[in-house]
Symmetry: C2
Subunit: 499 residues, 2 copies
């Protein structure tokens, strides 16, 4: 096989896998958003069947052969072609560790676990979910042992979400956050709580849906390329740059919850929407590591979305839709309410200051789960113990405790640290961006396109062409240093709470 | 290959095709309901790719071989196994007429045509849609010529929607309806119009959505097995008996439009939900012909849904949600409004009396289209001419004319007559049902389960196990006779309009 033949076969394989993954993604999205609940078993069967074919195509000897031919000639390849081959190799190496039957059974398990988690959360019934979580943990441990024999299993999983990430980076990272932020959290707790009574009113859901439309417009996201669905746990799915989906959730008594879900998922969406045309259809046409993805979503959600200027832009929109509820509220009051800092139960609703502690708790738990240091049945107890120890809150039920996040139900163990890392990357990117862009003018003006253009140029357009490390340096203008994140939080909350 | 081996291979093929068709169906449903509009090209590519694999599996020589083995031993097979083999043969015979490339290109065309039709309808822009329609007509003509050389092409297409159906049945059927119903329509036009002012008010969409929930409950449809989406043109899609989707549309000024869309599509859904457990997973696990399907949907929509007792059941539901709009409205007033008969523009909104004339116009047009007697560019003119001639209405724009229905955009030419035939079947089924069931007590009580149980026993549970003719006789208690339909309409509208 010549290099040219191998490249043609690579393109053909991309086309085939694109179709299968599109179908699997669509079944999954449909299942998460609109399918009736009893649809889960048949959907799981179909998804497992199609996943089996993906497994077969990826692990086929011919696929190994084409990778070999291409990488033997790696120096003659363009960066793009080399990365396409490398990514295929990484995916193939992983899949080859798992026999087809086991892979299909796992996919079916995940398809069912999503529904089980959803129902278990609503009923606050951990026991119903535990057998699924148990199997998911066992699968991940087995997989890690095969992939990195002799290495700490959790490091192997972390590496799957961001190449090279391990406890050696994360232990000191979380230790720094804990050491630097805990005193601030304790100080804030002593200060007067801002007045958020205006939020504790009913904001009718059908009007919140209209508010979502406005927020999407402010973010510059075209609904022709990006749809908005509704789910218990918001997420983003990108099929291609003209077909991205975000989801949000509506609670009549929590208007900001929807707002920041949309801004967060909108940040993910802008990343997928901004991937270069030249990468479409290839393996490179997706976001890079989860940390990079979260750096974008958390950037919009917090650095922009919870800024004073953005609150100024939102105020008239909120007043137009909710004149009674927002009577007497000015931008400063909205800003302070949107940045209310206090230890709380729910990660996705947490303020920026305590957020990383929520993530750290999950990090510690996952380490123990994957090391085999904790039984599945003991996870809720350990969860509750850590919430008490690190955040000083009592978890009243598993719905607001260990069942709150969907991640483990779709097999993502090792993902959570991305949220904290991404948050930290974002701060450094913002400082770098401020040199080039009138960030706060854009936010205040209710048109985030200049911000997105800057990120698009340095991050989004590259898809998976560059490594996460290269993208971080592109965005940050230098190597990553978590001190920026710590300083940002101390400054912001110092000012907010007159520390 | 032994018969047992062939049966095992049949089961394996059912499993494979079930997965592909589920994925294709899901992509289609997603595209019709929630996908962003620019998603269409990539979705079309994926759907065409997967359809190509279906084509490959169905037309494979091994599939021909297993059919031969099974049908050679047909008398030894159970009815169920024989029908499974026969249905596969019918599908294979059709697909074998079309080369894979042509089939995939057609599937891609249809995927795009759906979006084009949707946009063209909203913009009332026939010219944008015409090139797609032109290709769809050409494909159907080519296909019919191959399938039934020497036969009238339109008869070949009709036979595809209901085995044995041809112009020899339909010409006299529509002639009878025209002859018998036209004088009634003319008489009704001279009578005073019922008072429908209460309908010409805004009924907020978010409350109409709640009304949908109530209507679904009255119909006895569990949302755990059946979801409700929103589309320009309502339809039903059934993946299996635990995953059925109906769609409806909401217009603030047309509360009955949503109501009768839900009841109509709910009738389709009840059919799919009632298919026997013993047929699930096989080729037989779907509704029979389109006429049988429409007999069920039109049964619920009109015979039940537009009856006095059902209006009595709906009244308190409507009053609870829309107290101001419904002030002073009693069941009789609602009944008369729901049965307002007058020549109109939109088929799906038409009263029962004029409905068949809408269908007849499409029947005549399709005959001409497929015979090659009319150019695509001339279809709107001919449409408008017939609406003037047969219904006496002037079509103001193509949105409310030739672009109103989605059917041609998804390749369905020869489908429309099913609506009129199904309507006629339903009346005879109702008369037969009244012998066994307290139909009007059930309707008045707001619980249609006894009605559904009767239909389930005679029609639904059989899926495609019986022929349409057998199902009609099962339901009607004897051979079909359109006189029942004509007499029903004359009696109902005679009473309503004191003719």
């Amino acid at each position: 096989m010549t290099t040219t033949e191998a490249l043609n076969r690579l393109t053909e394989l991309e086309r085939t896998l694109r179709a299968y993954n599109h179908a699997i993604g669509c079944l999954n999205y449909d299942g998460e958003t609109v399918a009736p609940r009893n649809a889960a078993p048949a959907r799981g069967e179909t998804m497992a069947f199609l996943s089996g074919i993906v497994h077969e195509k990826v692990t086929a000897p011919e696929t190994g052969e084409l990778i070999e031919v291409l990488l033997a000639d790696r120096d003659a390849l363009s960066l793009k072609d080399r990365r396409r081959a490398e990514l295929l190799k990484e995916g193939r190496d992983d899949m080859t560790l798992i026999p087809a039957d086991e892979y299909m059974a796992y996919q079916q398990l995940l398809a069912e676990a999503g529904q089980v988690w959803h129902d278990a959360k609503l009923a606050s019934d951990y026991a119903a979910y535990a057998p699924y979580l148990d199997k998911i943990i066992a699968y991940n441990r087995r997989f890690a042992a095969r992939k990195g024999p002799g290495k700490p299993a959790y490091d192997v999983l972390l590496d799957g979400y961001e190449k090279g990430l391990s406890h050696e980076t994360l232990d000191p990272f979380f230790a720094l956050l804990r050491a630097e932020l805990t005193p601030v959290i304790l100080e804030v707790a002593k200060r007067p709580r801002p007045d958020v009574a205006f939020l504790d009113q009913p904001y009718p859901v059908h009007l919140q849906r209209k508010f979502t439309d406005r927020v999407m417009a402010i973010m510059g996201i075209s609904r022709d390329d990006c749809a908005v669905g509704e789910t218990e746990h918001p997420f983003t799915e990108g099929f291609n740059k003209h077909d991205v989906r975000i989801t949000t959730h509506y609670h009549e008594g929590a208007v900001l919850s929807n707002l920041y879900s949309v801004v967060h998922e909108g940040g993910h969406a802008l990343y997928e929407l901004g991937i270069g045309d030249d990468l479409q259809g290839t393996f490179l046409a997706g976001g890079s590591s989860m940390s990079i993805h979260e750096s974008q979503s958390r950037f919009y959600e917090n650095l922009i979305g919870r800024s004073r200027p953005f609150c100024e832009a939102l105020l008239p929109e909120l007043k137009a839709l909710f004149p009674q509820q927002m009577a007497g509220v000015d931008a400063e009051k909205l800003y302070r309410a949107a940045n209310l800092a206090e230890p709380s139960l729910i990660r996705t609703e947490a303020d920026e200051l305590t957020y990383s502690i929520h993530v750290m708790i999950r990090y510690e738990l996952e380490k123990a789960m994957i090391a085999g240091d904790i039984k599945t049945g003991d996870i809720p107890g350990e969860w509750n113990r850590m919430y008490r120890e690190y955040l000083g809150v009592d978890v009243p039920d598993n719905r607001r405790g260990v069942l709150q996040d969907s991640h483990w139900s779709f097999g993502a163990i090792g993902y959570f640290p991305s949220y904290a890392l991404g948050s930290a990357y974002g701060v450094q990117m913002l400082e770098n961006m401020e040199k080039d862009v009138d960030v706060w003018g854009a936010a205040r003006g209710g048109d985030l396109r200049p911000i997105t253009a800057w990120l698009g140029e340095r991050i989004h357009r590259y898809g998976q062409l560059l490594t996460p490390k290269e993208l971080v340096e592109n965005g940050c203008g230098g190597p990553f240093d978590p001190a920026h994140y710590v300083n940002y939080l101390k400054k912001k909350y110092g000012e907010l709470y007159s520390l």
